[in-house]
Symmetry: D2
């Protein structure tokens, strides 16, 4: 049930480097923002993505999609709400909503990532302790 999926909140401020001549936060920068948001979501579950990689598990992105409702502007503090909404085999799916300082939702997005063994470069089920942290009720 979706209500069993906690929402993780990350805040970040739009940097000058991230603006474009239209005066907006460049549309391509949100991919990096969502990466920050999901890494912080994992961290709040006790999972360090850095440690995961150091243990030989990488998490490349399989797909990414975003719909923009409004632009973000320079120096705005954005709030990103992240939900880990499924873990199936080697795949994990995140959804994101971004809100501006006025509380307006400015976009929604999702990514599918896949657990891959850095050594074999092949998909793998996530380590069991990771899986249970991500989904306490998860059974391999």
């Amino acid at each position: 049930m979706s209500e069993s999926h906690p929402t993780f909140t990350t805040e970040l401020r739009v940097r000058y480097a991230e603006t474009d001549r239209m005066g907006y936060c460049y549309y391509g920068n949100f991919a990096a923002y969502f990466e920050v948001a999901r890494v912080e979501a994992l961290r709040s579950l006790g999972v360090s993505y850095k440690d995961l990689e150091d243990d030989g598990v990488i998490l490349p992105v399989l797909d990414y999609e975003i719909k923009y409702f409004k632009p973000a502007y320079y120096d705005e503090k954005l709030r990103i709400e992240t939900v880990i909404d499924s873990l199936s085999g080697a795949r994990i799916h995140f959804t994101y909503k971004t809100f501006n300082e006025q509380g307006e939702q400015i976009n929604k997005a999702s990514t599918t990532l896949v657990f891959v063994s850095a050594e074999s470069q092949r998909p793998m089920a996530p380590p069991e302790d990771i899986a249970t942290r991500l989904f306490p009720a998860y059974n391999n």
Copy 2:
């Protein structure tokens, strides 16, 4: 008919700045690559996106989606095939396919952009001369 839509080809090489510690071209960088590809597609049709903006028309992105089949690596010369597949009211839709040096398709993507008046910040039909360059058979 889709066969009436020409394909525009852009080549670009993955920069060191664009790699990540996984050794891949960072997943978020493709949005900028596709922006380059669509600007070059427009240029080859005689439309300068810069001039369009200087004339008060901006083209923000409404949605973007990408599916990754394989990673791109440092120093690879990628080929992006861009198709402008529809123009409807103020909206224009592009699709992209990226190929690596071995000729393998490594991802597919699409974006919807909207013609917006910089002054009013409201959607607008594209200037007629632009529309007919983009779609010779286009009737407003």
Copy 3:
């Protein structure tokens, strides 16, 4: 006297997007980090760089230099110490030191920026209220 120049501290974490295939934070990313650091330094003095721009004053960078002692790595929380060490005519000079989580200084850098009128695109003395916030003892 240099001892009269306060030090402003900003923390930020190295994003995955900012790493490179060497496993380091890409050398070019520090320019954006220092921009964040100096904007936060200004903010802590009651000066919003965004408001300054909205009032028609821009602050382009005239020169930038950096010496790297050690790399920064993914997910490290860096501490940047910023000093505004001089304001002379239209020019303002910042120095920066970056420290890693172990407290080691990993680089030092400086930038000179110039107050420019957005309208005339010419250098200008900073607005007096800004100048006195930056340097309480400053006399035009």
Copy 4:
């Protein structure tokens, strides 16, 4: 003698992603441009930086400095002139000049890089065949 140092020319166009709300190419992006310029300079001497890394030699940057004379703007095709002006022990020094489409020099910059063994993470003399390609008259 400096006249013995050839100049390598690289052209690249300012991407929309690289602009900022001031309408300029963001000051921090030149570091990536110079990386492209020096990699192309090496390539024209028969040295693939990628192959060098694959052979276990990395070339981190020790210092970087840039003076900006004029901004670069969106869609401008810039010309970067690169000179490898010294190779001393493990260190190699590059200088760069950037010109806009009007032929005006818009900045000058330099970087010092160091040959490092990826395995030992310690500085090393460059492989002899590399050194002699970079400086035909070079004697270790």
